[in-house]
């Protein structure tokens, strides 16, 4: 097991290097850089910048160096935990992203929990009661959930909340709590704002999970050991929960790695819609303003988290599933 973990960690290094290269190329793609867009701003205000100022600006931002040197210095920074400098905010990226990354992870985490709590029982029921009303009903719902774009669901929920409960659900806190110190009431207020991203992302994830769970459990239920246990007189629900479900549940654990990138993607767009300060809105902003280190570091961190998520779910699977041996 220890050897397996070490090998996996070693494999992660080239993976992350390739990701960093892809990310750097992508954020370099837009024509021009932060200096040109700053110049455009200045010119639109009627000011002219002279050659010296431009050169000085380029120098301060390290933009005068060749491309591969920029990449290497960014990569070197990443290794020691320095994510670079945000041109737009005139601040180190580290100070900008910390809280947002934490919030993104919090939302991803509670969405996974929500997905499990909802998808697991539904999947079990629709497999055990195959072709029943519940089965058809949940299948239709799952299909609808898969077909609805995240942001559309968020929009509809916001509209619903406004129309029927008269509450504006955008943002992270209600106005009276924005600057308030942490208290129980503030946490409640936070949660009352987090339910929309949770539900939206959770439903997106549920849809796929229910179908996987149903299919897996159906496969298990047809196996001889189930018939044997039943013939021996084991109570139906006890049997189902004790054996087939335990096997059918494995994709939930191995699936975390797969759904993490999707959750991060989804939370980005949902946060933009309902105006929650996760990575999404800032990422969009930084991309549009060519704030390349901010944008690049965001994508990089989310990718690293996804890769780690895959590793953790693989390890968890090895622990839960006794049939898996890594030697």
């Amino acid at each position: 097991m220890a050897r397996y973990v070490i090998r996996r960690l070693l494999v992660m290094i080239p993976t992350l290097l390739i990701i960093s290269l892809i990310v750097f190329v992508v954020i370099q793609l837009p024509p021009g850089d932060i200096v040109t867009s700053t110049l455009e701003d200045l010119q639109s205000q009627g000011q002219e910048a002279n050659e010296e100022t431009i050169a000085a600006l380029r120098k301060t931002y390290n933009l005068d160096k060749p491309m591969h040197m920029q990449y290497l210095s960014w990569l070197g920074g990443l290794f020691v935990g320095d994510l670079g400098y945000s041109f737009m905010y005139q601040q180190p990226v580290n100070t900008l992203v910390g809280e947002r990354i934490a919030l993104t992870m919090l939302i991803a985490f509670i969405s996974i929990i929500f997905t499990w709590v909802v998808a697991l029982p539904i999947g079990i029921i629709s497999a055990v009661k195959q072709y029943s009303f519940t089965d058809y009903f949940t299948t239709v719902l799952a299909m609808l959930g898969m077909a609805t774009p995240n942001f559309l669901l968020a929009l509809v929920l916001m509209w619903f909340g406004f129309e029927y409960f008269g509450v504006s659900v955008g943002g992270l806190f209600s106005p009276e709590y924005i600057n308030a110190p942490w208290s129980f009431a503030r946490i409640i207020d936070l949660l009352s704002h987090l339910w929309i991203p949770m539900v939206v992302l959770g439903i997106g994830g549920c849809a796929g999970m229910v179908r996987i769970m149903r299919a897996n459990l159906l496969d298990e239920l047809r196996k001889p050991y189930v018939t044997t246990a039943r013939a021996k007189g084991m109570r139906s629900w006890k049997l189902i929960l004790k054996y087939p479900v335990r096997i059918a549940i494995l994709p939930f654990i191995s699936g975390i790695g797969g759904i993490l990138p999707a959750l991060f993607s989804g939370s980005a767009i949902v946060s933009i819609v309902v105006d929650i300060p996760t990575t999404g809105p800032l990422l969009l902003n930084s991309l549009m303003n060519q704030d390349m280190y901010l944008a690049g570091s965001f994508i990089m961190i989310l990718s690293v988290l996804s890769v780690i998520g895959v590793l953790i779910s693989d390890l968890a699977l090895a622990i839960v599933d006794p049939r898996i041996h890594y030697d």
Binding site: T15, I18, V26, M143, L144, M146, W159, A262, A268, L284
Partner: protein, 379 residues
């Protein structure tokens, strides 16, 4: 009668039905009722997209200043004074003057003014498929005296542009972007997956790693990064192809995996070994023997990939970094409904979203049906 004809093994005498792989697939597919309905729905939607100039009563940039922010207009059969009419009609509208609110958008029907729905009316000029100019539209409204009225069955936006018209025009972009993207995905997936599966060894190893890397990056942020790189000066067509390429950037990985595993499992099958022993070239084995045997599988995987691309385009355009106005796509249309106030006042702005849901749903259901039909071991 000759001896040969009496031989029961010849076709003529044995009288058996013959169906090839595709006919069998189609037969199994037809049993999946929802999938068949979805197929026809999609045919209908693509048909609308193909003939959008003719089907829509207006052009996407037509502005109706008398009906800004207008809700979907009902078609009426009964008039409060004139009674029942067999031909459905619409009313004229006037803006309600609200002394307290100058910006009031309330509209009130004028019951004296009615316009009958009619088919094949003359309206705004357009160029059908860029080939010939005409002004014939499938439907429109006309008053008895020939004075022009208006019909906005899905309402209008803040500039008074007809949502129905824009929706149908938008479907041309939104629906085809998935097809073009998937075509690109199939080519990439087959080539790269085929190389990995056939070559194996370190080539396979490298390709596998690349696929894993691409799949572990969150798609949307990278899509956002890529599409932010599309120059603002690009024309609508260039952006369209740019977005397609971006969407395919991730799409091919899933297909490449399928192709690779099929190649691996098939490399040692009897029919492949036989072909090899008979001296068939590598290309012939791949394209003549191996590819057809899992073509149905590829088509299924490709169908399942289309919804992801449609959703991707919609999301990017919605965020303002995909298709850009004046190009019309469903995502661009949804931009108007970005805040709660707009949705509360004008819920009909979300109609393009409903279209997205229905189309994606149809593709998923059809993909389900195809998958079952393509599986030769399923009864």
């Amino acid at each position: 009668m000759t001896e040969a004809q009496k031989d029961p093994s010849t076709k003529a005498n044995f009288d058996f039905a013959e169906a090839n792989q595709w006919q069998l697939m189609w037969r199994r597919f037809k049993r999946h009722k929802l999938a068949v309905v979805s197929l026809w729905f999609l045919v209908f939607m693509y048909g609308m997209a193909a003939f959008c100039e003719f089907i829509t009563p207006y052009t996407p940039d037509d502005r109706d200043v008398k009906y800004l922010w207008g809700p979907p207009q009902g078609l009426h059969f009964t008039h409060p004074e004139k009674g029942f009419s067999l031909i459905p009609f619409t009313y004229g509208y006037k803006r309600l003057k609200d002394p307290e609110n100058e910006w009031s958008i309330a509209l009130e029907p004028i019951y004296e003014k009615t316009y009958d729905l009619s088919l094949f009316v003359r309206g705004e000029k357009y160029k059908m498929w860029g080939l010939f100019e005409t002004d014939l539209h499938l439907f429109g409204v006309q008053a008895a005296d020939g004075s022009p009225g208006f019909i906005h069955i899905f309402g209008t936006d803040k500039q008074g542009r007809d949502i129905f018209t824009r929706l149908i025009y938008g479907s041309r972009i939104s629906l085809t972007i998935g097809l073009v993207g998937v075509a690109l995905t199939i080519v990439l997936g087959i080539i790269i997956g085929g190389i990995a599966g056939y070559a194996s060894g370190w080539v396979d190893m490298v390709i596998q790693r690349i696929i894993e890397v691409l799949q572990s990056i969150p798609q949307l942020p990278l899509w956002m990064g890529l599409s932010a790189a599309l120059p603002v000066t690009w024309s609508g067509v260039s952006v369209y192809f740019g977005i397609t390429v971006i969407l395919s950037f991730f799409g091919w990985t899933g297909l490449a995996r399928v192709v690779r595993s099929k190649f691996l499992s098939m490399r040692d099958e009897d029919f492949v070994v036989a072909a090899k022993l008979l001296g068939a070239s590598r290309m012939r084995i791949i394209f003549k023997h191996m590819l057809p045997s899992f073509l149905s599988h590829i088509i299924t995987t490709a169908t399942m990939a289309i919804p992801g691309m449609i959703l991707g385009e919609t999301a990017l355009s919605f965020l303002g970094i995909g298709m850009r106005p004046p190009t019309v796509s469903w995502g661009v249309l949804l931009q108007d409904g970005q805040n709660t106030t707009a949705i509360v006042l004008m819920p009909w702005l979300l109609l393009p979203g409903l279209c997205v849901v229905l189309v994606v749903l149809a593709f998923n259901l059809m993909g389900d049906g195809l998958r079952d039909a393509a599986d030769p071991y399923q009864n």
